[in-house]
Amino acid sequence: MDFQVVVLAGGASKELSPLVSNEVPKALLPVANRPVLSYVLDLLESSNLKDLIIVVEGSDAALRVGGWISSAYHDRLRVQVAQVPEDVGTAGALRLVANRLTASDILVVSGDLISDVPPGAVAAIHRRHDAVVTSLLCTSPISGPSETGSSGGKDKMKKQGRYNIIGLDPTRQFLLLAAAGTDVEKDIRVQRSILRAVGQMEIRADLMDAHLYAFKRNVLQEVLDKKDTFQSIRQDVLPYLVKSQLRSEISANGAPLSKDGLNENMASQNGQAWLSQQRIGAPSCFHEAYASVPNGSTAEPGRIHKCCAYIASKDKYCARLNSIQAYCDINRDVIGEASHLSGYSFSAQNNIILPSAQLGSKTTVGPQCMLDEGSHLGDKCSVKRSVIGRHCRIGSNVKIVNSIVMNHVTIEDGCLVQGSIICSNVYLQERVVLKDCQVGAGFVVTSGSEYKAESLSKKEKSPSH
């Protein structure tokens, strides 16, 4: 397939603080003990999309991501790692790598996508309709926020009140409306001309933009070039293309359909012929009907482009790791309901305990848990629905529920960890109680302390009560 893939891997995202840092950029954040980026790369590889540009924000992050890729994928994928400054936005990042794009179609995917929707299917739809953009839409993730039980953080869920507002044609193939950014919270604005052309539009609020787009290269380059204020793909580029689909401003030869052919037809037609053509019936696609607007003196004949949507079926998993809450949910899903994504084989108890992990006596590891190599659990411990990374040392009488423990963590006797995320190299002294907390890398929690719904990290001094 002549597709080039741009993976927007982000940098040290602030929303995920304290989990990410310069040492652990977002792309390398472990999900079930694998960097989150590996999920996207495996997914692309499975669709035989092997020509990649990975865009990373910040030089430190780029170095680390590049290092990891070259060790993990050097023989499997053709990868270039591009470094861009922080805060340029998704469109800005694309603009900076635009000159490296050569294939006729470009697949842009966010590096934090965890999904099993084949990108090849999206690419196929894109090609079939000769669309300028095709967007992957998912029904809301399997695990809603309600069933998680743990709140994870203070303000994460509030922002996600609604998903995107998406308008679709009756066949659900074409994208007719894409409300962006703050528009989502406002009243819905529908373009009459598009509604007239289609006749029927379905407006949905239950679809999530999965941040996987296929673009026509020359259209993408032209838009990025002309509209230099565009910062975000989702909030600027996509809505712009959707809005202007019936009055395309794209001049490049990427203007789809046999536009020239149509024009010649139009010019030679007199009114009667046009009328009879109108009466033949509905064309297969409203765009074509629209394009056959008479060649009047005032308006140019309709120049159009198509925006398509690929709606993933309900049984597919699709989530984006863009908040701490999402991080908890995704980890739980990957070793739970969506376990096929993790790439591990589960034991009869529905959990994963690598052979090199050691368990003390009377220690139980429940279903939907993962215990990675070299980790050691003391006696009478209990682990439920949690992920424990490599080479952790965990004492006796420790309870870990609904939590994620990364690598090289030391947990002393009698600790209780619930709904929390413990980053690498953290040291929990005896009888620490953590509920719904995030502990940044290398932090030391003194013995006997109790925290609830707090974010602990090295930079701040020990947070005051």
């Binding site: 308008g167 703050t182 819905i188 509604l195 029927q200 910062q231 019936l246 009114g271 308006a299 309709g302």
Partner: protein, 734 residues
Amino acid sequence: MTQRKGGGGSRVSDAVSAEDMARVPLQAVLLADSFAQKFRPITLERPKVLLPLVNVPMINYALAWLESAGVEEVFVFCCAHAKQVIDYLEKSQWLSQPSFSVTTIESHDCISAGDALREIYDRSVIRGDFILMSGDTVSNMSLTQALQEHRDRRKKDVLAVMTMVIKQSTPNSLTHHTRLGEDELLMAIDPETKQLLYYEDKSDDSKGILTLDKSLLVDSTAIRMHNDKQDCYIDICSPEVLSLFKDNFDYQHLRRHFVKGLLVDDVMGYKIFTHEIQSTYAARVDNFRSYDTISKDIIQRWTYPFVPDIQFFGNCPIVKLERQGLYRAPEIIQSHSTRIHPFSLVGNATIIGNNSTILNSVIGHGCSIGHNVSIKGCFIWDNVTIEDDCKLDYAIVCDGAYIKAGAVLEAGVILSFKVLVGQQVVVPAYSKVSLLPQPTKQDSDEELEYADGSSGIMENQPIASMIGVDDEDHTFDISDAQFCGISEVGSSGAGHIWSSCEGGLEEEWKQSIAPIPVNKLMEFSLRLHADTELFNQADSIPQTSGEKHPDSESADSDEDDEVKDFEKEVEATFLRAVDEVPGVDKDNIILEVNSLRLSYNLSFAECAGALYHSMVQLALRRPHSNNSELLNNMDNVIRQWKGLLKHYLHSVDEEIEVILKFEEICQESAREFSSLFSLVLNKLYENDVITEDAIISWATEKGGADESDKIFVKQSEPFIQWLKEAEEEDSDEE
């Protein structure tokens, strides 16, 4: 089931209980008046429902359908030309059907469908769900399913008051927009429940963007926008609909006021649902174009069994269907050289001369058509005489008209009753010719015009025998300057050519009987799409994510303005109550304030704030010369009205709101109080309006504020201190 929120006549609603519904016969309200004037000038002389549609007065289609659909009782509401309608019905057999009762209701002061329904409400004849339609509707749909859906919904939700019948329009957008000559219709429907969420029938072309309220997507995850449906103007209504019209006396138009009113009103929560018919027919004769379209649909038998060769009502004319959709009455005198093309209908006792051609036309009874006449796409009603060598294209010729030899009617001409067109005269396209002069008084309110026209200008003008008036110098009653017809319909003609109606020439082609010229169609098609450009111009620089949205600020200030408005209204209400009746009941004020609260959608806290504001204003208005008198006034006001204020103080939050409001007042509107702040606060406390909890938490809340914000806290410091100590003492005692 009997629970009602609409208020008004309870007797009707009693009938709604589930058991009763089964017993109530199915009723229908047939509005025998369109409350519009699109069929002028014809409707000046005859009501629209009696105009022949394929040689059968329209009302018969509606009545026949209602009978076949299982309706048992019909109330025909007659308004304009009521006498003609009643006379017609009395002569027909409709009033003597065994299981189908037709009752006429006559009214002369109704000027809109809303008035008609209010009148029907007053007569309390409707006992259960009923069908509401106008007498110009043609349909053959089955009501069973729609009715069942409506009743099932009603059992679950009493607020589902109406089911509207809609139909998929033709797939081609151009045909869809021009077929019935109606305005574009935009609807939003919930795909699951079929609830109607948005309705817009007069779209404003200048706006390229349609804005839907975001709250529509709160309850459902998807809504479907339709531009491809047509409204059949057949509604299944619950009795509440009538009382809603009664309650909202300003509702006039069924769609523009009632449907929209219900959709925007989120307080009552009444719901409208839609029922889409798939393969059956329903359409309303709204204008000349739909008259033409529906006539052709009838001839092409889409409306079966209501087609010309079936006697679907009592004294239906007998017509036989011949090959290729040609209908002919038995007694036609026709020359051998006459050519009648398919999809035409010729009525009884009509005489057609040599070499005449009739194409796609409907010709009534007793017409006389000369030689070499060409009739194309016309509707010739009864007893029309057309002399030799005439050429008629796409015209409506009403009863008794006389077209002299060699005359030409261009496309879209309407000849009203007994008009006389002189020899060799060419009547220009889209002319409307009538013996009656065009009413000069143009009322701006469209709803009222019909009434004006029918009452002001010679209704039921005695039908002067015009057949004989064909002498050269005939004199007409009105032969003054206003009578401009002579030159226009020929020296021997009689009739006024009306200037184009309110739609203007622009729209003439759209609603005319004549087919739309190709260039107009192209223009129209272009115009439909043109607004994209407007949109793009206005919006060519989309807001980038980085920019601050200017809207967000203005929205905030809007909200502020609303609160201010609300305050003003509450104050006005309060002061009015105080002024008018000295011992006014606080319940009345509460009632009024509550309704204000609902209409502004505000919280109790804001009510409390606004009321307190009003009380301060009252104290200020009472005469005072110094601060102590002012304090005294305030004390009195608080004593008198504390009950009212307390009604809104449900929790500490609202009490704090009152204190904050007081602070604001002291700083802004009534600085006189600023020195009295702590004293008034003390009074509020003494009168149990504000609790110590509220005062203390207010003080703590203010603890972190700017110095300038803390003036009043400081001023009240001793009082607060005292409160705290008192509290401690209390707890000590315990």
